[in-house]
């Protein structure tokens, strides 16, 4: 099999890497928070994790637009469109939940330790939405 690295393939590779981070980071953080570490540990982890998470979301959306542009307007139609718009709806939900989570973290930073555990739920919600989106992406790519 001949492997050609063109721009479209590069964009898809970036898209998959970003999706891996967008799902993997919240799963990892949910597991860390579930282990009840010291609040300082959580605080030191979430700052870079949030930056990486938002960076991954930006790359995910930018490359997602690129993937759609690669169709040059010739979309499959029918159920494919329904799945696409369902996926976009979940992406919207993921963005909103991620934004709320980021500001929940901002609020928790000045509160006592037990509140920090609430973060696990937010990371799980983020990861759950991410997994749903990955599933729909799989349907879009392979039917």
């Amino acid at each position: 099999m001949e492997l050609t690295l063109d721009a479209t393939l590069a964009v898809r590779v970036l898209h998959v890497i970003a999706a891996t981070l967008a799902v993997g980071i919240p799963v990892a953080l949910a597991l860390v928070v579930a282990a009840c570490p010291e609040p300082e540990v959580v605080e030191r982890l979430v700052t870079p994790a949030e930056r990486a998470q938002w960076g991954a979301l930006a790359v995910l959306v930018a490359t997602g637009v690129g993937n759609l542009a690669a169709f040059e307007g010739n979309f499959p139609g029918g159920d494919w469109e329904t799945v696409l718009f369902t996926k976009l709806g979940f992406v919207f939900a993921l963005l909103v939940v991620s934004a709320v989570r980021t500001f929940v973290i901002a609020g928790l930073a000045s509160r006592p330790a037990p509140h920090v555990r609430r973060l696990g739920g937010w990371y799980l919600a983020t990861a759950g939405l991410g997994v749903l989106i990955v599933g729909l992406a799989e349907v879009l790519a392979h039917g």
């Binding site: 721009a7 479209t8 590069a10 964009v11 605080e43 979430v46 700052t47 949030e50 930056r51 938002w54 960076g55 979301l57 930006a58 959306v61 930018a62 997602g64 637009v65 690129g66 759609l68 542009a69 690669a70 169709f71 040059e72 307007g73 979309f75 718009f85 976009l88 992406v91 919207f92 963005l95 909103v96 991620s98 934004a99 709320v100 989570r101 980021t102 500001f103 929940v104 973290i105 901002a106 609020g107 930073a109 000045s110």
Partner: protein, 168 residues
């Protein structure tokens, strides 16, 4: 994320990165939904230009969001709206000035004098239109951001500690 040390509080400006990213991603989603199936002709752009356009949009959004978040009282909805409109208008003007204007001027005129005239006319009108359109978008985002702050339990915002200035 926020400083716990007494007497200081990290200003909301520290959240410009997530918020700017949130705004640009929502803009892109809106663009896809409204532009489908044409997507506004972006299929005609090559990949590098498309990614550069996204990066530029993100950069101007970051600039406008960071400007809007300078005020620690941004949680108050009226302040948020004013800052949102101002930040959006600044983003739009910067986008025209740094992004679209050089491309249009360099790509469409041959003589330096024509280029200058074109830059002045296009720049003036373009920046005015961009300020109005982007200001309206900034207004919409300010309401959304305010709702997100309220959902996150930050309805009181980042109030500076008593006696503190609330800025680093």
């Amino acid at each position: 994320m926020a400083e716990r040390r007494e007497g200081t509080v990290r200003p909301p400006r520290a959240y410009a990165f997530p918020l700017a990213t949130f705004h640009v991603c929502l803009l892109m989603l809106t663009f896809i939904v409204l532009g489908y199936p044409d997507l506004g002709g972006i299929a005609e752009l090559n990949t590098a230009i498309g990614l550069m356009a996204f990066a530029m949009l993100w950069a101007v959004s970051y600039y406008g969001t960071a400007w809007a978040l300078q005020d620690v009282r941004v949680h108050a909805v009226d302040v948020a709206m004013r800052r949102g409109i101002g930040g959006g208008a600044r983003s739009g003007m910067l986008l025209v000035l740094a992004g679209l204007l050089p491309v249009v001027v360099l790509g469409s005129v041959s003589s330096p004098l024509m280029a200058l005239a074109f830059a002045v006319i296009y720049g003036t009108i373009g920046m005015l239109v961009a300020a109005v359109v982007a200001g309206a978008i900034g207004f919409a985002f300010s309401l959304l951001d305010w709702a997100i702050l309220a959902l996150a339990g930050l309805g009181d915002g980042w109030r500076p500690p008593s006696g503190g200035e609330g800025r680093e």
